[in-house]
Subunit: 445 residues, 2 copies
């Protein structure tokens, strides 16, 4: 059943149940331990718990750590986990075996690859990113600019913006590296990875992709695009557990020459020779830093077992069906309250999440809402989201004005989408979200 | 019972059992899930599993992650865990609340503090360390030297060495930072933390301590010594689990001015404002980087519950009793095989581990051993250690020549020490360690 050929008002909960029944990924839902009564639309921030994870962790803790003790570094393959799991992430991002390795946090990994990339373009003094990028990316760039610049003369940072300048306007032969997030953390807008990479290369610069909101959400083809470096997050769509390790990808052509700045002993050519001088390992291993946090790694390992069974084309189809359904239902049922869809409607420009803004639309058939009419304002999104969460529909709010809803295709159903919009509609109708307990106090990722 | 007043040949297994019976820390042994038949003397590399840890992890995984989902960032206090657990590590290193925070790997954390420290001494162009330092420390320094130096002119590195130069010989007014490991990873030799700090400060430099082999092993008094920065490891004596997160300490006087290079969003003053520009948080929080690996953090949390009950004076007393007993038994029972104690015999210069070298001693009463007599050579330590491990006595080997034995006072008994030496003596007597299966193939930390 195609949504595009259904009249909007022909969609009801039974339609959604029928879509669920026909869903080729439906079998994955029961592989997750989602709490009863919850519609979980925040897997773009923290992925749900795979049912197999607790037992796997228990085995790693009691057998590998408790009984194996230090011997597990060899016997349980601990030392090689970062590259072994990297090889299992590789097919999810269009990378080859030996090109992906686990890192620490995504911030530290971004520092690792951006510094290495900029060092491959000595003499070029600008780094390009986007004003709307996830802030940690911009903060990390500030540090790289200073460290790779000369005293009192940091590298230059140029930020593209929807209001200008554009990428083409900032690219020139002084640009060393372009660092962009493939799918925007707030709006879900997706760059054309291949096309952007092509234009960056035309300018002679290197392309670093942040895949935090892409991996496990949309197909990514790093090698096909000829990109240079990438990092990504495993605790969102990949369900590795809270704070599970980042990953780093480097195109094989850069392995022999890249010089990452975090020169820990796990990236050394012969770590157990305990030499005084640093000599980077061959291959992607040189991006390793120190001892990996193995309990967090074990969480990721359990979820990658599950990902090995996923067909990424089916994943993308379902993702688009879910986000399109959500957009369609918001348009038809919530527009009268002034709820606006911020995420691009063209599927090629959309990741697996949708952002809404309160107060951005017009009351259908009723003229524009004005403050004083009880009209919504953008900041009301915060209280609306808290009220939604209290009703068991979990998304999140991103300051200053966005309600985010993530649609992890492995466990979100079409019925979940229906129920989420219905809950939001009910809140808007009753006005119960205006109760003081939903007012702003703080927020987290 | 004092070992010092016992004639060496008065010590037998019953003596050790009596020491165990009188041990005020004996109650902690049953709090660890050590495998049957194992004498675990490698807690200086990977600490043993506390019995309470699996259940704690299970609760974090199923309740906080599985049920709480994204809400646990607030409701379970996830966001503040790095500082909350830092406050629980603080008393173990003589630090104040608000001065300690969890990091990523110790390598990344050392990069974080050494760069911050060197930036506090602009104009000074040398960093001092020790040739015998753990290699990752030296590798990290190489990177800092390059990043903080000028193009083609890295900062200078000066390495002290037992064979010279001494610390006093390398200290002058060009030294920005001194980076030393308090207890040496190979020999267990311990620096006088207060005295070294004092001399470094006299030269106008800042003092960074690596406490990987100190915390949970020996008393550390960072503030009393007036030190500047420190990092440490939680997966050795603190039993946080394989690869559990490092910690960072910075003296409060540096908090407002330190500029760490890993500028991730968790170190930002207002991370959830998602601003474009980096502004470091107040206090130790500015040393945070990205999202903490919370399953690894949970492992550490469980073990810190246990550490809250430990009297550090009792810990040190037992540690010295264990290492002294081991040294004494090696001297009296293994010297004839040419097994030499490398670790300092003066207790003030010894951490909680002892290193032995094969082939370094003389046969008691039998003249020096010569190759060809079946005499041991230093490299034989590798096979000896493998044979010991097969018998259930777990230490490790550090290239090129040291057998390391760690004595974690919370779970190692005096009887363990006896049994370890007895097993080594038996191996030496039988020569079974020369079987080919024990020959070198690789090693791990």
């Amino acid at each position: 059943m195609s949504l595009a050929t259904s009249a909007p008002d022909a969609i009801d909960r039974a339609t959604c149940a029928a879509l669920d029944a026909a869903d080729p990924l439906a079998r994955f839902r029961e592989r997750f331990a989602l709490p009863e009564g919850v519609v979980y639309l925040d897997g773009n921030s923290l992925g749900a718990l795979p049912r197999a994870t607790p037992e796997h962790l228990q085995r790693v803790i009691t057998e590998e750590w408790g009984t194996g003790l230090i011997r597990s570094w060899n016997d349980a393959g601990w030392f090689d986990k970062p590259t072994a799991l990297g090889d299992r992430i590789a097919p999810l991002v269009g990378a080859a075996p030996g090109e992906v390795v686990l890192g620490d946090s995504t911030s530290a990994s971004l520092f690792q690859v951006v510094t290495a990339a900029a060092r491959l373009r000595p003499g070029r003094r600008a780094i390009v990113s986007e004003r709307a990028n996830f802030p940690t990316d911009l903060y990390v760039l500030e540090s790289v600019q200073e460290l790779l610049g000369e005293p009192g003369r940091p590298l230059e940072r140029r930020l593209i913006d929807d209001d200008g300048p554009t990428l083409d306007e900032v690219l020139d032969d002084d640009v060393a590296v372009v660092v962009l997030t493939h799918v925007n953390y707030r709006t879900g807008r997706m760059f054309d990875l291949a096309e952007v990479t092509r234009r960056v290369h035309e300018a002679g610069a290197l392309m670093v992709w942040d895949l935090c909101h892409s991996v496990g959400a949309v197909p990514v083809e790093l090698n096909a695009a000829g990109a240079d470096f990438a990092i990504g997050c495993t605790y969102k769509y990949l369900n590795g557990g809270p704070g599970s390790p980042s990953f780093i990808w480097a195109a094989a052509r850069h392995h022999g020459v890249a010089r990452p700045p975090l020169t820990g002993w796990h990236g050394h050519a012969r770590p157990f020779d305990f030499t005084v001088g640093y000599e980077p390992a061959d291959g992607i291993t040189r991006f390793r830093v120190g001892t990996p946090q193995l309990l967090a790694v074990a969480g990721l390992e359990a979820s990658l077992d599950l990902w090995a069974e996923v067909d990424l084309a089916e994943l993308r189809e379902k993702s688009l069906r879910l986000t399109e359904l959500f957009i369609c239902l918001v348009d038809t049922r919530l527009a009268e309250w002034g709820i606006e869809v911020v995420t691009p409607r063209q599927s090629a420009q959309r990741g697996s999440q949708v952002a809404l803004r309160a107060g951005g639309g017009a009351r259908v058939g009723g003229g524009a809402l004005r403050p004083g009419d009880g009209a919504l304002t953008p900041g009301d999104g915060y209280a609306l989201m808290q009220a939604l969460i209290e009703r068991g529909v979990i998304g999140d709010f991103r300051a200053p004005d966005l309600m985010r809803f993530g649609f992890a295709p492995l466990y979100v159903t079409h019925t979940d989408v229906w129920d989420a919009v219905a809950a939001l509609e009910d809140l808007l109708r009753s006005g119960s979200w205006r109760e003081p307990r939903f007012a702003r106090r703080g927020a987290v990722t």
